[in-house]
């Protein structure tokens, strides 16, 4: 990764250190700034790849995605974390659509943002957060935050340097890069592949959904019985 990228990474990591709980409002604000600056400089250091408009859209979406992710992990309130996560999903969906993966992008939106995150929001709010829970305000242990942020930063750096190898072009492309651009048949091809090659996986995932559904219900029943038995001596 180039120098700008390295500095951006340092900025990002510093910002995260400031923003992630335990933090105060002041450090959070400063952290937010640093994070944004870091992401921007990383993105700026990345090689350009296309027409300016496409590049601009990519930058915006990437900034949205990464920034919202950073915000999601630094928000003390789980509610806000979930909302920022949803925003990050929006950015992700945009990135996917930009990569001519329209269906997947929309599915991400619908399933993740529409279903999962909203459900989690409900759960969070049902849990009735009484203001600032200790576990939301603090990380565990004194070294946890620096260690994990350092580890995460190292991970980013290593990933960056490893992925830099693709710029050499020594990974041959399997196709010519044109067929995905044909938007009109995208969905049809997706469906074709989904129900021919991956038919078995589709069936299996259907089973899995059923199992998960029944499992979730079973968990609820199991837990409810527990409560019922616990209440007996009280009555």
């Amino acid at each position: 990764m180039s120098g700008g990228g390295t500095w951006g990474l340092i900025l990002l990591v510093t910002g995260l250190f400031l923003a992630i709980p335990h933090s105060t409002r002041r450090t959070r604000n400063a952290g937010g700034l640093l994070i944004t600056a870091g992401i921007v400089s990383i993105l700026y250091a990345l090689p350009r790849f296309g027409p300016w408009f496409e590049q601009l859209v990519f930058w915006a979406l990437a900034l949205l995605t990464v920034g919202a992710s950073a915000a999601a992990i630094s928000m003390r309130s789980p509610v806000y974390a979930a909302i920022w996560f949803a925003v990050s999903l929006l950015g992700t969906a945009g990135l996917l659509v930009q990569q001519h993966a329209q269906f997947v992008g929309v599915a991400t939106m619908v399933v993740y943002a529409g279903a999962i995150v909203v459900t989690f929001l409900f759960v969070v709010m049902l849990a009735q957060p009484e203001g600032h829970e200790t576990h939301d305000r603090l990380s565990w242990g004194r070294l946890a935050k620096p260690a994990s942020i350092l580890a995460g930063g190292t991970l980013m750096a290593l990933l960056g340097s490893a992925c830099g190898a693709v710029l050499n072009g020594d990974i041959p492309r399997a196709g010519d890069g044109q067929s995905l651009l044909d938007d009109s048949s995208e969905l049809a091809r997706l469906g074709n592949e989904l129900f021919s090659v991956h038919l078995l996986a589709v069936e299996l995932v259907g089973t899995l959904l059923l199992v998960a559904l029944v499992g979730a219900i079973a968990l609820m029943i199991h837990g409810r019985e527990r409560r019922a038995t616990r209440e007996v001596p009280d009555a």
Partner: protein, 534 residues
């Protein structure tokens, strides 16, 4: 599009799906006689095992004889490895259904049995998957029922805690696996693992380039990190002692068997298949992890007074032994490492089920079997169960004429073979063999401590024997199988070796494309669409 071949190939899965649906549906309406669900499930597995011998076996034999051992086309691979491990998965399903049969369970029995069936479906798929998508879905089909089953154990805090730990770390690890998969996809440009234009070729290409692409080690390490969680390899093992300790005995038995089989199957199907020949990192990683895993597992087990915690460390150590086979087979393809791993996996799983079956039999809802001291005097009070536990411990420790001995024998042989086969790296494998031998010696200490507790300490009161028939049957059947395999190791060993030989050989460049046999007509529906669409 679906023709008879596919149906027959997937007959086991289809039947099991039917069983699953029946369990879920009928379980909702029938609110009585819950004790029959495990019997029904076990019978279903038994019947399927019998049927398997006719339908799937014949089909597979037919296919294999046609195409020299392997059908590589699309997401499913039909070979003797899959055949053997699928049969074994059905056996495991049968034993697990019995193991999870609780005497006093009023509700949710059918759901739990359904989860076991789903888990076995996952194992069946993983044993045959040749595609990242199918592999991923298969692995998750093993994982998700496991979460549910773990939560449906006891209703105490420890059980909930262990479920939580397992769930969260498992989700974390599957993210790692997926990230590794993404780089594999990137390297190969396809989700197919072995075959024309598959990931195996891509990885070989990337390694052959100068300099070798750094994405290969990245992908391999992420893959090992994620799968290492499933097989409890150090340093991805942390959850195992806590989770085993917190959960019930039957769940610990399940946990020591199902994810581990799935993990090793995936490791063989993905990792071993794609690592090219003469790629040093490919064997160095499992070798290092193997040494770490078995050493750490054994030395930590020495300290434990909690039964399940000790067995958790023991299962960690056993994973280390099996990784020895993986390392040696990656280094020298003809070392017989996979055969040894298969044999060891079978021996280990059966032994583990025997132990946990015995433990589950010895406890009741009111009185869990937790500490080592709880077993004291068992040799006098219940000699049969004590014998089963002692046999299992001897098998774990690798005492001759039991299955575990032959497993270790095979593993060490393969390591020594690899030491011969891997020119210039012999010292690594000799070191591995010595480390393995030292570990086997250390391990004997805590296994024998358990046995001596049973036989040479005064009883502290009778154990309730509240597990009922199911765990007892599991214990008995597994023990008999251990002894049987120990007495007749040739049968299993031969099948394991055939399975090993049926696996695709590691690629050394782009030769696979030229030598690949033409597509089978019966697999049109499963063949790649993008090839067909052109």
């Amino acid at each position: 599009m679906v023709d008879g071949t596919t149906i027959r190939l997937l007959s086991s899965e289809i039947v099991l799906l039917g069983v699953l649906a029946f369990l879920f549906l009928a379980g909702t309406f029938v609110r009585r006689a819950h004790g029959w669900w495990p019997v029904f499930t076990a019978l279903a597995f038994a019947a399927l095992l019998a049927i398997y011998g006719f339908v799937d076996r014949r089909f597979a034999d037919f296919q294999i004889s046609d195409s020299q051992g392997i059908v590589l086309n699309g997401p499913l691979v039909v070979d003797l490895f899959g055949l053997l491990l699928r049969q074994f998965a059905l056996v495991i399903g049968l034993l697990l259904a019995l193991l999870c049969w609780r005497r006093h369970e009023e509700e949710l029995t059918s759901e739990r049995m359904g989860m076991i069936v789903a888990l076995v479906i996952g194992l069946l798929i993983v044993a045959r998957a040749n595609d990242l998508v199918l592999m991923f879905v298969g692995l998750e089909t093993v994982s998700i029922p496991t979460y549910v089953l773990m939560f449906l154990g006891r209703r105490d805090r420890g059980s909930a805690e262990s479920t939580m730990k397992y769930f969260f770390l498992s989700v974390f690890s599957s993210a790692l696996v997926l990230y590794g998969f993404s780089f594999l996809f990137g390297l190969g440009g396809s989700t197919q693992l072995v075959g024309a234009g598959g990931i195996q070729e891509g990885v070989a290409r990337a390694v052959a380039g100068s300099p070798a692409s750094p994405l290969v080690p990245l992908a391999l390490i992420l893959l090992l990190g994620g799968l290492g969680f499933k097989i409890t390899a150090v340093p991805f093992h942390f959850y195992a002692p806590d989770v085993y300790q917190g959960t019930t005995n039957s769940n610990a038995g399940l946990l020591s068997v199902a994810p581990k089989i799935a993990g090793f199957l995936a490791l063989i199907r993905v990792y071993v298949a794609i690592v090219p020949e003469r790629y040093d990192l490919g064997w160095q990683l499992p070798l290092g992890i193997a040494v770490l895993t078995m050493t750490l597992g054994n030395v930590c087990a020495l300290w434990q007074r909690d039964l399940r915690r000790m067995l958790a460390y023991s299962s960690i150590a056993h994973s280390g032994y099996m990784l020895m086979g993986i390392a040696s087979t990656v280094a020298a393809a003809r070392s017989g490492g996979i055969a040894a791993v298969i044999f060891y996996l079978i021996a280990y799983s059966l032994t583990s089920l025997a132990v946990f079956g015995a433990f589950a039999f010895l406890e009741s809802q009111d009185r869990p079997l937790q500490r080592l001291e709880d077993l004291s005097g068992l040799g006098k009070s219940n000699p049969l169960v004590a014998t089963a536990i002692a046999v299992s411990m001897f098998s774990f420790a690798g005492i001759p004429i039991l299955a575990g001995f032959w497993g270790k024998f095979g593993l060490f042989t393969s390591v020594l073979q690899a030491a011969q086969g891997a020119q210039g790296n012999a010292s690594w494998f000799l070191f591995l063999a010595i480390a393995g031998a030292v570990n086997a010696a250390i391990a004997a200490a805590y296994y024998l401590r358990l046995i001596s507790t049973m036989y040479f300490q005064e009883a502290r009161g009778n154990l309730p024997l509240g597990g009922g028939l199911g765990p007892f049957a599991t214990m008995l059947a597994s023990t008999i199988l251990i002894v049987g395999i120990g007495l007749f190791p040739g049968i299993t060993m031969q099948r394991a070796r055939l399975a090993d030989e049926s696996l695709p050989q590691p690629s050394s460049g782009t030769r696979m494309r030229a030598e690949h046999p033409p597509a089978q007509p019966g697999f049109q529906d499963l063949s790649r669409a993008d090839e067909g669409s052109r």
